[in-house]
Structures are given as C-alpha cells and as structure tokens.
C-alpha cells in the first residue's frame, strides 16, 4: 500500500521533489560542497546519536565523550521499562495520538469535502469561521478548556487530553484544497448509480485523496505524539501522563541519572524516528504537500 501511495503522491505533488538538478561537472568546488553538506548532516543527527549511545552505556561510562559505548547494554531500557511507568505513558500516547488522528482525519475531510463540493447558502461563512480559528493560539484556549474540563469532570482522563484535538482547522483547509482536484463527474456518476451522499464521499471521493490523507495523518499524529502544554495541564495523576509529560516529570526526579533520562528520551523519540526511516521519501513528500498547500 505504501508503494502505491508513494506513486500517487509523486503524481500530485507537482513534481516538486522529483525534478533533479542538472548534473554538475565533478569539480573540486562540487566536492567541497558535498563534504560540507554531508558533515553538516552528520552534525545534525549527533544529538540523536548521543541520546541513543548514552542510553546504551553503563553509568561508569556515561560522562565519557566517546560516541560508541565500550560495552553496549540494554540494561537501562530494561530498568526503565520494568519500572512500568514509561510503558504506561507510551501506551497512553499511542492511544491518544491514534484516536485523535483518526477523528481529525474523518471530520476534517468530511468538512473539507462538504465545503468544497456542496453549493449551499452559508457555506462561505462556515468556511471563514472555521479558518478564523487558525488565528487563535492554543495558549489562549487552555484556560477555558481547563475550566470546562473541571466542570464536566474531564480532568485527568483520556477524553480530557483528546477533546481539543478531535478536529483541526488546518486539516479542513488542506482537505478542501485537495478535494478540488476530484472531478465532479466522478461524484455525479456515483450519484446516478444510486449512492447516497455519504457513500459518495466515503467510497468515491476519499480514495482519490489518499495521499493528502496520509500527509495530514503524519502531521496530526506527530503533533499529538509530541504535544506537551495541554496534556501537562489536564493530567494530574502519573498513570494518565503522555510520554512528553511523563518524561518531564521523570527528569525532574532529582535522583534519576542522565543515562536513564536519555533512555526515556529515546523511548519517546525512537517510534517516530523508525517510522521516518521506513517511510522517508513518503513522509518528506507529505510534508511538502501539506506545507505548501496548507
């Protein structure tokens, strides 16, 4: 599935990343340029390399500057995971980011589709109203959200962490843009075939914007996986922390050693890193698509 999506994305992203620069003559300048770029790239991943290497070092070696551990160990990981908290936070983050992503994908594309393909009075106002919420910073909403959560008993619950992100204005905007590329004839044909409007959206239009959905999914999942401010505010019991909140509280415990903090940081970073390494080209295309159309 990834391969076909990759192809469709390639077709839709205006060939932006496909076009290669014309071949340059192998010259000294070109060689130096390559070396500097490559060196810079290595420098960019050094913090991550040190995070992983330190998470695999024994305490006696942690403050050595060598990157490769003399005696690599997974003991820090067993220690951190046996503690149980990180495992729980990992599961919390996974559940919350997954549900939020699915919800946002469903509703954002439904709204984007409706505003794009239905002509009715008021649709322009609805669109502008939704779009205008992009101007409102989350930070302005967290206090009222907290008040709401308090009066409805949503504090310290999955729902409390998730509800602000169940729909996104950015997604509506992005999906509306992409539904413009779906020809009306297809939808009309489905209508003649007797499909109702929901079926037309779900069975005909949605499969045609899969690359856009994938791009949006990456953005929303990553955003929720790394979200910090709201989960920090809405959770009070450690059992409900998400990974970032849990890591912050873990790091603040004075007696925790740096190699264990690095292990925690690695646990919260590795899933997205591995995902990136597998779907690299696909993710970069998605980012370009969402970034430029959005």
């Amino acid at each position: 599935m990834a391969a076909t999506d990759d192809l469709t994305i390639r077709a839709t992203s205006d060939a932006l990343l496909r076009a290669q620069a014309p071949r340059k003559k192998a010259s000294m300048a070109q060689f130096i340029r390559w070396v500097l770029l490559f060196g810079g790239g290595i420098l960019m991943v050094m913090p991550l390399a040190y995070m992983i290497s330190t998470s695999m070092k024994f305490p006696w070696e942690v403050y050595e500057i060598g990157l490769i551990p003399e005696e690599p160990t997974l003991e820090n990981y067993t220690y951190v995971l046996e503690d149980g908290r990180f495992f729980g936070w990992f599961i919390n983050s996974l559940i919350i980011a997954t549900i939020t992503t699915l919800s946002a994908l469903f509703f954002d594309s439904l709204v984007g589709y409706t505003l794009c393909k239905f002509k009715f009075r008021g649709r322009y106002i609805v669109f502008i109203a939704i779009l205008s919420t992009l101007m409102i910073p989350t930070e302005m909403l967290v206090i009222p959200w907290y008040m709401m959560s308090q009066s409805f008993g949503w504090l310290d619950s999955y729902w409390g962490i998730m509800f602000p992100g169940l729909m996104t204005a950015f997604g509506v905007f992005l999906m509306k843009q992409f539904f413009e590329t779906v020809p009306d004839d297809f939808l009309e044909a489905a209508r003649i075939d007797g499909l109702n409007e929901f079926q037309i959206w779900w069975q005909v239009a949605m499969p045609m914007v899969k690359p856009a959905l994938a791009a949006l999914a990456i953005f929303i999942f990553l955003g929720n996986w790394t979200a910090f401010l709201w989960p920090l505010i809405v959770t009070t019991s450690p059992a409900l922390y998400t990974l970032p909140v849990g890591l912050a509280s873990y790091g603040d415990e004075a007696d925790v050693a740096w190699e264990l903090i690095m292990t925690g940081a690695a646990i919260s970073t590795l899933p997205t890193l591995i995902f990136f390494l597998i779907f690299q080209r696909f993710i970069i295309r998605g980012v370009v698509m969402a970034g430029l159309k959005g």
């Binding site: 990343l17 709204v111 910073p137 930070e139 949605m206 401010l229 940081a265 690695a266 970069i284």
Partner: protein, 315 residues
Amino acid sequence: MAVDPSAHDTTKAPNAPRWGLYGRLSVGQKRTIWAWTFLAVPILFYVIIRFYPTGNAMVLSFQDWNLLGARTWTGLDNYTRLFSDPVFWQVFRNTFAYLLLGTPISLVISFVIAYHLDQVRFMHGTIRALYFVPFMTSAVAMAWVWRWFYQDVPIGLFNNLLATVGIPQVRFLNSTTNALPSILAPAIWAGLGFQIIIFMAGLRAIPRTFYEAAKIDGVSTWTVLWEITLPLLRPTIVFIVVLSSIGFLRIFDHVFNMTSANPGGPLNSTKPLVLMIYQSAFSSFDMGYAAAQTVVLFVVLLIVSLIQLRLLKDR
C-alpha cells in the same frame, strides 16, 4: 482503507422516495440537507471547543478569579497590572528575543543548506534525511538531551569537549546571558529540516528556463541568486517566516524542560510569554491575570501575522 460494510447497501432504487417529506424535496434541497448533516457535529465542535472558549478567555481577562470562588469584574485591572509588571516586560523582551534571533538565523541556515543541497546529486536523499530527522522528534525529549549537553564538567558533553581541547568552561543554562540562546539552539535545530524541505520545493518550482537564459547572458552565479532565485522564492520565504515566527513567539516546551528546576530562570532571563501564562494560571491560579496575558499573546501573534501577510501581498 476499510470500507463501511453498511455503505454497500444500495439495494434501494435510485431516487426512489424513501420517506414522505424527504422524497418530495428537490435534488438541490436534498443536498443542502446532507451538507448541514455533515456539518452538524463539526459546527457544534467549533462553537463549543473553539469559539466559546475564545470569548470566555476574553471575558475572563476583565475578571478576577482564583478557580474556586466567584468570578468578579475588575475592568481593566488585569491589563494595567500586567503593563506595570516589570516581569511582564522582561518576558516580553525575552519572547521577542526568541523571535528576532530564531527566525533570521533559522531562515539563513536553512536557505544556505537548501540552496547547496539542491545542486548535489550524490547521496542527495540521505543528506536530506540527515537534516530532516530532528523534525521528527519531540521537543520535550530533545530539551532533556540538550540540557544534558549543557551541564558543567564532568557531566555535560559540550563542556567535556571544551575541556579536552583546553578551552575554559562555558556556563550555559545557569548564566543570565547564555541561557536564552542555549535554549533557542535546539528549537532552531529541530525546525531546520522542515524549512530546508520547503525551501528545496520552492527552488525546484522555479522554471529552469530562467537559469538557462541567465547562463546564455553570462550572468554570474551571485547575480542569478540575488536577481532570479531570491525574488522568485519570495512566497516561500514569507511562508517560512510566518510559520517560524509563530513558533518562536509560542516557545514553551524547550524552556519549561531545560529550566524546570526554576522555570524561566535564571532570574526570568529565559521566560517566554507562554511560560508566564502557564505559571500565572496553574501555579498562582490567577486565572483572570493569565487570561489577560493570553489576550496579549493573541494580539501579538495577530499583528506579526498581519504584517507578514501584508508583505506577501506587496509582490
């Protein structure tokens, strides 16, 4: 993608009246009903979770409330108190320091890298991935990694490296002058990859014919860069500047996690507006005061975005 099994239920004849009133409607009216049905839940969501809280925050900024007692009207008190609070002005300066250092630095670095990477073919994808990888990380995790780098000898990596080459120690996070740039560094680092990718897409979108024409005219590379590439990249540049400005004005995760022993310290020298909001609301429970700060943040973001959108229009 999974298809809803019930969606296959197409046994009913097309356009047959299913139930009385609905059947008598015109196609256009039916579609309008469908549209509002689709929009019903989202509209409810946007009203309850976005618009109502926005109004609530604005109202609260004119009130005094400690989360437990009654909300009492205090007029402009929160704002006058805020504008006469020296900590607020310190925070305001810090917030703009993040913006005014972070945005230009990341813009220049990412453009230079994108410009050169665009002309490299050997291992192009690998190098691009190396620069992009930090974008996939969580700010909290990276804040803790960098916090460790910044520790004093014998703990921190940077000072250990300096020690091996015999350079005197640098105080990073516990110095009032060095702490803010030290916190900014990982924030810039994590965002570079995204900006590079967007810049490269912008560069690829410039038609080759421009460059070929310049080549025929014998124009220097430098002139091509200033006269063709940069002017044509203007929409990309404005886009990146807007996004990164908003990001730096809202910086929080890095500051909170790198200074959590004394958030915003030392001596408030790293405290950004969002951290002040967080502390006023959830440490001091001074909800009205915090709400007034969020309104200020909103106005600042609005002004900065409007200025930049204006620049985009002026093409």
